[in-house]
């Protein structure tokens, strides 16, 4: 097991280098650079050249890349062009908000998706299953930002039950911690609901398919033939094996979850990493874009790794590292 984890971690290195190379070149090969955006037009060309040199923007792209890589290996992702703060710090400030949203959404999804998928598979073709099919397809077909807007329209604009945007109420900035926590939860409800509906739709569909697959197996027939109660067959024999693909899909869906989270954060003005990244892209804040892309890539890759390890744990037939 340990060997497997180490090997997989080593495989991450070329993957991350590939990602950083592509993003770096995409960002830098475009015409123009950030100085076009934030420098006063009255500035003299010499001054402009000096600013470019300051940021290292006058060197060939490949040289800039190696500079960047050298610094990153020392843990330095550069400084944000506009705030002058280190990129690492800037991201660290925003990361908790994103993780709070994503992890809560994933946990809720998992808790709901398993019984939903199982019940739908057991009742295949019945009314519940048909209804559920429509729900999950609609969930996959709905644009994330529009679902967010519609929930905002209903719960914030019409009903006034939840705040539409942000994470904290200004009036409560001096309140005790548990009031503040409740305030955050109140703000979190709509973005969380949006994310959860989106991931629930896809996940429970997979859970249903996995369950249907397992229910066709011979050993299920055997279990039923032995006269075991249906409950035992479903939960003890079938579900265990149907959970394996769920673990994998959860890992694979991370990339999509990130993309979704970034758009949702933008709509709900949730002060997370995604919103930071989108703003960085709009203002061509190169070091910050690279920082956010790389951190997301690492998180996605680690998520996939965890899913693989989980896979090995759930299914004892899989023995990684031994060939």
């Amino acid at each position: 097991m340990r060997k497997f984890v180490i090997r997989r971690l080593l495989q991450l290195i070329p993957l991350l280098i590939g990602i950083s190379l592509i993003s770096f070149f995409v960002i830098h090969l475009a015409p123009g650079d950030p100085t076009n955006l934030f420098v006063d037009p009255s500035v003299q060309p010499e001054e402009l050249a000096r600013i470019r040199a300051n940021f290292g923007l006058d060197k060939p792209v490949i040289v800039q890349y190696f500079y960047w890589l050298k610094n990153v290996l020392r843990g330095d992702f550069g400084t944000s062009y506009f705030t002058g703060k280190p990129v690492v710090l800037e991201i660290a400030e925003r990361l908790p908000a994103t993780l709070l949203l994503m992890v809560s959404s994933m946990l809720i999804t998992l808790i709901i998706t398993i019984p939903l998928g199982v019940y739908s598979a057991v009742k295949k073709g019945k009314f519940f299953d048909q209804f559920f099919t429509v729900f999950s397809f609609a969930g996959m077909a709905i644009p994330s930002f529009w679902l967010g807007l519609m929930l905002m329209l209903l719960f914030a604009v019409q009903l006034h039950w939840f705040p539409a945007v942000g994470m904290f109420s200004y009036q409560l900035k001096d309140a005790v911690w548990y009031i503040k926590a409740l305030d955050v939860m109140h703000h979190m409800f709509l973005p969380l609901l949006t994310m959860t509906i989106l991931s629930l739709a896809g996940m429970s569909r997979y859970q249903r398919a996995a369950m249907l697959e397992v229910l066709k197996e011979e050993y299920i027939k055997t279990a039923r033939a032995k006269g075991l109660p249906e409950k035992v067959v479903i939960f003890k024999h079938a579900l265990r094996n149907a959970l394996i693909p769920t673990v994998t899909i959860l890992g694979l869906s991370l990339s999509g979850l990130f993309s979704g989270a970034f758009i949702i954060e933008t709509i709900f003005a949730w002060p997370g990493m995604g919103r930071l990244g989108v703003q960085a892209i709009f203002s061509r804040n190169y070091p910050l874009i690279m920082g956010v892309v790389m951190l997301s890539a690492v998180l996605i890759a680690l998520g996939n790794l965890l899913a693989d390890i989980g896979y090995a744990l759930v299914d004892p037939r899989i023995r990684y590292g031994k060939k």
Partner: protein, 269 residues
């Protein structure tokens, strides 16, 4: 074909999709107003004169949604064609030749898959200056990986078949074997992937345009019609409702058709 007819979701999808294609083709005939001109005072609620109301500067939303289907379906279609072509080339080369080339190409696919794709798309868009052609290209360039894997898998199984051996024996070139002999056998899963891929492309286009990095106003696309909707949510919610409904319905119909086709091609399921 009977299999498809029995699937009422697929039939529903086909009908709705047909309706959208009709709207897209005949948008100029059936739209009551010019989609880009101001025909009324701003933010009028839906009425007999303007079924879907008017937007924040007084344009007819119904006409804009009709023209929007033309834009959104075209973008989705062209993007998916680009993705399919790249995917077929990568997948065919990888699966047919195998070995080192396969390793290199598939590692590249892994890298592309590990990207938080929305960032790549947004970054390329802002670097290229957003317009409708770049939207198609960028979506195509970032969504071919699934097709590549699929085609590679098909080629891996097909190239062991006897007809390929026979083609080799009569001296057919590699290119001929790839495109004339093997590829036609892999068409079914590619068609399914293309249908589902077009749904994905329409969703991506709408998100990009919503963020202002896709199809540029005044050209209406379903996504960019929603761009300013958030600001008018309190007073004119219909601006936000109708374009979104059209995105949802078109994507849903493509999913249903795709799933129906999948069942036809894999009767095992």
């Amino acid at each position: 074909m009977n299999q498809f007819k029995k699937n009422k979701f697929a039939i529903f999808g086909l009908v709705v999709l047909g309706l959208f294609i009709f709207l897209a083709v005949f948008a100029n005939v059936i739209s009551p107003y010019n989609p880009e001109s101001i025909v009324e005072s701003e933010t009028q609620p839906p009425s007999l004169k303007h079924w879907f109301g008017t937007d924040e500067i007084g344009r007819d939303i119904l006409s804009r949604v009709f023209y929007g289907s033309r834009i959104s379906l075209t973008v989705g279609f062209v993007a998916v064609v680009i993705a399919i072509i790249i995917g077929i080339v990568f997948g065919a080369l990888s699966g047919y030749f195998g070995g080192f080339l396969d390793t290199v190409l598939m590692r590249f696919v892994d890298v592309m898959l590990a990207f938080p794709s929305i960032f790549l798309i947004l970054t390329i868009q802002i670097m290229l200056s957003p317009n409708i052609y770049n939207v198609m290209i960028v979506i195509g360039l970032t969504s071919w990986m699934g097709v590549a894997r699929l085609v590679r898998g098909e080629f891996l199984t097909q190239k062991e078949r006897q007809y390929v051996e026979a083609a080799h024996a009569i001296g057919a070139s590699n290119l001929r074997i790839i495109f004339r002999h093997i590829l036609p056998n892999a068409i079914a899963p590619i068609v399914v992937a293309a249908t589902l891929g077009m749904a994905g492309a329409i969703l991506t286009e709408s998100a990009l345009s919503f963020l202002g990095l896709g199809v540029q106003p005044p050209t209406p696309s379903w996504g960019n019609m929603l761009m300013d909707a958030q600001a008018y949510m309190r007073d004119a919610p219909w601006i936000a409702i109708f374009p979104g409904l059209f995105i949802l319905l078109s994507v849903l119909s493509l999913y249903f058709v795709g799933e129906g086709l999948r069942q036809v091609f894999n009767p095992k399921e």
